[in-house]
Each structure stands twice: as C-alpha cells, then as structure tokens.
C-alpha cells in the first residue's frame, strides 16, 4: 500500500489530512488486499485532491472499483454542504448519468431458443455504433420535453408503462432540470443520438440469473434463479459530454471569480447556489433526464423484440430498477448527528439507499434499494441491495462496476477482438458489435474482477448481495 495511507479496517483505508496540501477532511476508500495490488497511486492522489474542495463533509470517499479518473477518481463520492459547498463537473464526469437498468422476463434459460437470432434482432432494433441514427426523429420541442421529463417523458410518448419510471432512481426524472442551460451545441449532438446505445463500455446484455443469495430481497425485486433478464448500460451520449465540456469552461472562470484554489483544473467548481453552480446543475439534471429517457427507449425496443420472438406480453417484462453512476444530486443525510441537505457527487459510484428510505418504491422499502453492478463483458453481473451501513458511512453509496486495470489502447495492442469473441463464444456467450476492435476494448482482462469488487462492498456492509447474473449474449456499439 502507498506510504502515508493507513488501514483502519479489513476493507477500509484512510488517507490522512496532509497527504496532499490543503486537505479539509481525510480520504477513505474500501479495498481488499487483492484489489490493492492494482491500485493506482494517481487515483489516491485524486481522492486526496477532492478533500481540498470547499465545504466537503466528513470524508472524500472511494469505492473498491477506484481507478484513475479526471478530477475525481472513478469510484469517488463526496458530499458538500449547501451553504459553504461547491458543485463540480469533475465530480460527475463527461458521461452524465451513465447508468444501468435491469429488465426481467417471464422466460427461463430453457425457453431461450434461437439465441443467435435474438442477439441479431436486438442488434438491428437498437441503433449502435458510429453513424447509427436515432429512430425517434425529435424536434427541438420534443427534445426539451425529454430534458425536462426523462423516463416519464418516454413513457408518456409510448415507450413504456407507468411502473417503469417509478422503478428508477429519482423516478427517472430529476427535478431542477433547466434545458435553457443546455447549449445549442449540446442539443445538436443530442437530437440524432436519442435512443442510441453509443460505444465504448456501453452494452445491452441478455443474462440468466445464476444464483440467488438473498431469497427475500430477490422475491421483492421479482428475481428468481434461471430467469432471463436484460441489462442496459448507457448514458447521455454527446449531449451530456458537451454539457460537461461547456460548463467546465464556465466553472473555470467561476473558480477564479470566487477565489477557490484547486490542485487540478478538472475539479473546477462554483458555490452550489451561485449563478454558475445553478446553471451547471440545471444542465446536468437535463442531461441526466436525457439519459433516463434514452435507457427507457432502448428498453422499449428490447421488450418489443422479446414480445415478438417469444410471444410474451410486453407488460410481463418488468423493470427491476435503474441507477445512475455519474451524477450530482441534492439528498438528505445525517452528518455528525444532524440531518441536513447535501450536494452529493457520485462519479462511478451507485446510490445504495437502505431499507425504509422514502425515496424507494413501496415494494422495495423493506429490502432496500436495488443496486445493479454490471460485470465486464463475459463476467457475471450482480444485484445487491442498499444498507443502513451505507447511509452511515458512505452517504448511501456503493461501487458501480468492475473498474479498469488496463487502458483501452493497451487492451487493443494485447488482445485481438477476434480472439476475445472466439473465447467468449466457446463459453456460450454471443457478442455482436460493428467491428472486433470494440470487443477488444472491453475484453474481461481489461477490468478488475467484478466478483472481488462486490465481495468487498458486501463484506464492508455498504451493500449486500442479492443475486448473480451470467451473460448469454451482448450487443455493443
């Protein structure tokens, strides 16, 4: 482990004040000895940098999928007081509300005949890859509706059923969205990309529930062993990327204007209630809503394919939940015994609210919030539930995925997409992409082992395992 970092529990480490100059609070991160072998020193430095930001509360935190990011580390979580605190695009990232949802079907593995045909049908139905055009044909007015309404907008336009948006974090529609703060450039990028999957690590995967660890929570979530499910992972596409770029520039000026001193320009920020901070929040919330609508539209296309191919009812496929991985939000938390409203940043981290949270759908209040952790291509994904421990220790947050250990460029040099595809095929996992390079980019070897990341959050108690999902087929951009 790095010099100066102290172990304070079997899976918890502290980065003391003084690790970098001007830290206001200590850093804390969760990690096993095995994951510590691939910990990047730069990621710990970024965790410490976040601790220098004005108004940060308790700790700068990182989850066990911590790795080097831009501004915040990936896996980073930080909460800021509403009066003295700041908001920063560096704490959200370029892909605003990159997130994941899981859809159940009434099918079991034995029912899933014509699997190759299914993957091809999904690949045809969901626009993926460069130049893929949205089938939505949005005009400016409709785009504004999408930016305001998120999943709810999509359902109202025929892309789902009412229970869908109720089963999303923030009910799939963040309050405070201000489309006026979204530039024309961002809208121009967003319009033709609505309802498209994108590229990079985004995917749509057909999975089977391989093992249930917590039958009671699984029952509440409508999950059973052998069941076929679909996981959808994507974000706010070029619209969100442009919003981040635009507001980073504005907030650079604001950082100087408000006399804030920072160790990394990517942490550019402004007081939460300042005009610059408010504008960023309004644009970011609009992008988050775009992403929720996007995942809703893609899920609609998926349901139609399954309904057609397996003669099952559209309404018999249920959205378990949808979580955001990259977002800043206003939430209530207990800090030093006091209940207060905070601005929480989760960058490559998932909200994990415990049992009893009023933000959860009634059916999930006993079990706690479903937490969806996608594995890398070819490795298992997991469903967990949020806990009271997370509420106390991590502002109700947990990990978001496997976390990278190898850069994508290095992956391409070492791994051939064709070889990866063949190897996965031998395990019965079908992969469909426009070209093999996209497959090498996301090969399992590029990521930390997902089972170890979820084991750490389970053992640390910041979320608990409910079920494991094995991949059967995946489509990529």
């Amino acid at each position: 482990m790095l010099q100066g970092v102290k172990r304070i529990g079997p899976y918890e480490w502290e980065v003391p004040i003084g690790f970098v100059p001007d830290m206001r609070v200590p850093g804390r991160f969760f990690l096993s000895d095995r994951l510590a072998e691939t910990l990047e020193p730069g990621a710990v430095q970024q965790l410490a940098n976040v601790a220098t930001m004005p108004g940060i509360l308790k700790n700068s935190l990182a989850m066990p999928d911590i790795h080097w990011g831009y501004g915040f580390p990936i896996g980073g979580v930080a909460a800021f007081g509403m009066e003295e605190g700041v908001i920063s695009p560096g704490g959200v990232g370029f892909d605003i509300n990159c997130g994941v949802r899981i859809l159940t079907t009434p099918l079991t593995a034995a029912d899933l005949v014509r699997k190759r045909e299914l993957i091809e049908a999904l690949f045809s139905a969901v626009p993926t890859g460069v130049g893929a055009k949205s089938t939505l044909r949005l005009d400016q007015k409709e785009l504004l509706g999408m930016l305001k309404g998120g999943s709810k907008w999509a359902v109202e336009h025929g892309f789902g059923i009412e229970e869908d948006f109720l089963h999303c974090e923030e009910q799939g529609s963040m309050k405070g969205a201000d489309p006026e703060a979204v530039s024309q450039k961002a809208r121009q990028r967003g319009m033709p990309q609505s309802g498209t999957l994108g590229a990079g690590n985004h995917f749509l995967e057909v999975q089977v529930v391989q093992e249930v660890y917590d039958p009671e929570a699984a029952r509440a979530y409508g999950i059973s062993e052998g069941q076929i499910c679909v996981m959808i992972h994507c974000g706010s596409r070029g619209l969100g990327h442009q919003v981040c770029t635009d507001h980073l520039r504005i907030l650079e000026g604001a950082t100087r204007k408000y006399g804030i001193s920072l160790p990394d320009r990517q942490l550019a920020c402004a007081p939460i209630t300042s005009p610059e901070g408010t504008a960023y929040f309004g644009a970011m919330a609009s992008s988050a809503n775009y992403a929720w609508a996007n995942r809703q539209v893609i899920m609609h296309m998926t349901r139609e394919v399954f309904a057609r191919m397996y003669s099952i009812a559209y309404e018999d496929m249920h959205l378990v939940y949808d979580v955001a991985h990259n977002v800043a939000k206003f939430e209530e938390h207990t800090v030093d015994g006091r209940r207060m409203r905070v601005c929480i940043h989760r960058k490559g981290a998932t909200r994990a609210f415990g049992p009893g949270s009023p933000d959860l759908p009634q059916a999930y209040r006993t079990a706690g919030q479903p937490v969806i952790i996608p594995g890398s291509m070819g490795t298992p994904s997991y469903l967990l539930h949020g806990t009271a421990v997370a509420m106390e220790r991590t502002f109700g947050s947990t990990c978001h995925g496997a976390g990278r250990v190898m850069s994508r460029t290095k992956a391409k040099k070492q791994l051939s997409g064709h070889e990866v595809k063949e190897a996965l095929g031998k395990e019965g996992i079908l992969v469909r992409a426009h070209h093999n390079g996209a497959i090498a980019d996301e090969a399992p070897e590029v990521y930390k082992p997902s089972e170890e990341v979820v084991r750490v959050v389970h053992e640390a108690g910041i979320s608990r395992l409910v079920a494991r999902f094995a991949p059967l087929g995946v489509i990529k951009g």
């Binding site: 970024q46 990011g69 831009y70 501004g71 990232g93 370029f94 892909d95 890859g129 460069v130 130049g131 450039k185 121009q188 990028r189 994108g198 590229a199 990079g200 070029g238 990327h241 442009q242 981040c244 770029t245 980073l248 520039r249 650079e252 990394d264 320009r265 990517q266 550019a268 994508r408 426009h434 070209h435 390079g437 996209a438 980019d441 951009g477």
Partner: protein, 103 residues
Amino acid sequence: MVVMYGSAEPGPMRRSIEVQAADLESLIHAFLSEVLYISEVEEMVVSGAEIRLYEGRLEGELSGEPFSPARHRSGMEVKGISFSGLAVSRDNHTYILEVIFDV
C-alpha cells in the same frame, strides 16, 4: 467524437475553428473540444489540421472527409478532453502536447 481510422490524405472537407482563452492549455483544450464537436455533428473524419496561435486566440483549419462505414473503421468513443494531465511544452519550434481523452 469517435476515433476514426481512414486515409491520411487531405480530404475535400474544410472547417475553420477559432477559440479564445486566457492561456495555452485552455486554448488547446477549447480547440480539441471543438474538433470533437465538429467530427461528431458533421460526421467528419479529420485527417489534417493547421493551427495558428496568437495572444489569447487560436485559429485552426481542419481538413478531412465525410465518415463512410464502407471506407472507415470506427474505434473507441471520445467523450471529452480532460484538463487532468494536460500539458503543453515547447522544444525549439515544436510544441509537445500531452492530452488525456476520456473514452
């Protein structure tokens, strides 16, 4: 923006960029962000760029061609240009850029 692999020959498309910023790093950041925007909305495969630097201002001329799935291979998606790790140094008459893209 998606990294695209095509011909290095100057293509028929031309686009001009002008950005203003207080320092060299910010100018480079703004320029690359603009390239990213143009390549995405115009589906342009950029094969060349000429850059002129002035005090607080950068002018660029991009050349390239329209993206065609038949002729170009698409690669990873660039989401944004990061200020983290951005460095510009000068060696005689050559600028050396270190830029990290969020992919």
